[in-house]
């Protein structure tokens, strides 16, 4: 259970809200690079943290992300003409560069002074890996560029997809932290999904259906360890990192690529799940890429607007027969939609005053508390964590340890991302 005012505090991320202020201290994924595939390609609308923006890539390959609406009379620049290093409003021809600066106002006298006085609000935007990242906060507080391992590996080692989720970001994040649902909701997928099957860890998973959980408080967020019996003297550990505010990573299985998510608020009732798969030491294979593009693993099969083909308008393609036979536990196909169908079913912003949480929800309880404390600390001028490279160089881990070893102690180095270092996985 959560008090109404705290639920509001954590779920509202628009400009001027306390949680919105926190989010505006982080670089966030705002587009897939494929959405602006070449210089002078069509501009795209972007809504993030309840701000309506337009993004474009100019003739020199620079990325711009700025107020969607023209400074003149408010036409949407989505209609804009992307030409000669600027986006031109088709209404009266005002033209802006990637910083939002007006560079040509043909309807006015040929006078540079007027032009110089017109500027749309814009945000720095960079491409790292296959994702475009933007920083929407105070320029004086801009953190270093993100150093998530998935976005520092060589080309060909990462694949990112995005998927519309029609509920508040916190509902989606909490699914990423909640390790206890995996055995139930996703139980059927371990053997069949090409991106999971065949690891030794899967056997441990199935051999012990009642894991123990350790929720470890660490600097950038939480490490959530699920512990199962492995052999006589050992435990099988799966460790999920959560880094503030909205990054979660799934523990690996065998030599499969490692996956994780950014849960990015669009507005208070929608979010994007940016889901990545990367391998720290090798190229993704063509077979793996094919499976990812087809929506396997943590990805989903989507329409051109990145809305899943199975969505609330078709009841997520509920298959009661598969549910009955246990092919899928919920009757919904695929990990991503299994999660989002249930999270959307709670309503756009779930009423957390009506929850009946139990001790196994300790990870969620602690994460909410850390978010709330981070929001309050920021109001007192304390810098947040999670936007520093040292917090971001984290890995999920799956490993077998002697029973007496603390997982943080036993895993230690394995949790630190380093170029070329193989990941620790069972």
């Amino acid at each position: 259970m959560l008090r109404t005012e705290i639920n509001e505090l954590l779920t509202q991320t628009g400009p001027g809200t306390p949680m919105g202020d926190l989010f505006r201290r982080y670089w966030q994924p705002v587009l897939l690079a494929e959405e602006l595939p070449e210089n002078d390609c069509p501009p795209v609308r972007v809504k993030v943290l309840s701000e309506r923006l337009v993004a474009f890539r100019d003739s020199s390959g620079r990325y711009g992300l700025m107020d969607e609406f023209c400074a003149h009379r408010g036409a949407s620049l989505w209609f804009g003409r992307n030409e000669e290093n600027g986006l031109r409003c088709p209404y009266h021809g005002w033209k802006y560069d990637v910083t939002g600066q007006a560079v040509d106002v043909p309807s006015e006298a040929d006078n540079g002074n007027f032009c110089a006085s017109v500027k749309l609000k814009s945000y720095p935007t960079v491409k790292l890996g296959d994702v475009l990242w933007a920083y929407l906060g105070d320029p004086d507080k801009q953190p270093p560029l993100p150093e998530w391992e998935a976005y520092t590996v060589p080309d060909g080692q990462v694949f990112t997809s995005k998927r519309l989720q029609e509920c508040n970001w916190l509902q989606a994040l909490e699914g990423g932290i909640d390790s206890s649902h995996v055995t139930f909701l996703h139980g059927g997928n371990l053997d069949t999904d090409p991106l999971f099957k065949g690891s030794k860890g899967n056997e441990y998973n199935k051999g012990d259906l009642k894991p123990f959980f350790e929720v470890v408080d660490y600097e950038g967020g939480l490490l959530i360890g699920a512990r199962r019996n492995a052999e006589e003297e050992t435990y099988y550990w799966r460790v999920t990192p959560w880094v503030l505010p909205n990054f979660t990573m799934v523990p690996p299985r065998g030599d499969h690529p490692v996956h994780g998510h950014f849960w990015v608020p669009i507005d208070d009732e929608n979010c994007w799940a940016y889901s990545f798969d990367y391998h720290p030491t090798r190229q993704l294979t063509e077979t793996e890429l094919e499976a990812m593009r087809a929506g396997k693993g943590v990805h989903s099969a989507n329409d051109a607007a990145y809305r899943p083909l199975a969505n609330k308008d078709n009841d997520y393609l509920m298959d009661r027969d598969a549910q009955r036979r246990g092919v899928t536990y919920s009757g919904i196909e695929g990990i991503a939609l299994q999660d989002s169908s249930l999270q959307e079913s709670m309503g756009p912003i779930v009423d957390r005053t009506k929850e009946r949480l139990v001790a196994t929800d300790a990870g969620i309880i602690k994460a909410r508390q850390k978010l709330r404390k981070a929001v309050l600390a920021l109001q007192d001028g304390v810098d947040p964590v999670g936007n520093r490279p040292q917090d971001q160089k984290v890995r999920s881990v799956a490993t077998v340890l002697p029973r007496e070893q603390a997982f943080v102690d036993g895993i230690g180095e394995a949790m630190k991302a380093e170029p070329g270092k193989p990941h620790t996985s069972v």
Binding site: F212, V215, M318
Partner: protein
């Protein structure tokens, strides 16, 4: 996979049911509190934290201190009571340890709860310290462990679970 496996029907379809407007029709009635959560401190430092939490208002939660062998509990007002009697109707016990002392009591609590199907949570109250005797001694007996826990984690956990 995407042929028409289900036929959404009117107001009972997800499209309709997941809107904010429909969410407002979620029926409202009092939810029961957790059944008899028992919070047990295992050393004097932990007892001070447990005592602090006990002074807030709770549903059916009760607070104790114990030491080896853990067959008896001591209430916050100093009465000695039997563990068996106090957990008879409980769903969850929360063990709080700072020093890691009284490992035999932890093991006893763990075993009794295991046999009765009672959920066990453990708080290793060792702020700033990831590896501690409290952690090692609690680990085998707590299904959920917070490491390291801070004093307000106890209150948060109890509050969130309607103890």
């Amino acid at each position: 996979m995407f042929e028409n496996l289900s036929i959404p029907v009117g107001p009972s379809s997800c499209a309709e049911a997941t809107t904010a407007k429909e969410a407002a029709y979620r029926i409202d009635y009092p939810l029961p509190a957790a059944r008899n959560t028992r919070i047990i401190a295992l050393d004097s430092e932990a007892a001070a934290i447990v005592r602090g939490a006990s002074e807030l208002e709770w549903g059916q939660a009760r607070f104790y201190e114990t030491s080896d062998p853990g067959t008896d509990l001591v209430t916050m007002d100093g009465r000695t009571v039997s563990l068996e009697g106090e957990i008879a109707e409980s769903n969850t016990i929360v063990m709080v340890s700072a020093s890691g002392e009284n490992a035999a009591a932890m093991a006893h609590l763990g075993e009794v709860c295991y046999n009765r199907g009672i959920m066990t949570a453990g708080l290793a109250m060792t702020p700033g310290n990831l590896d501690s005797d409290a952690l090692h001694n609690l680990r085998p007996h707590a299904r959920v462990l917070l490491v390291p826990a801070e004093p307000d984690d106890l209150v948060e956990l109890l509050w969130a679970t309607r103890a």
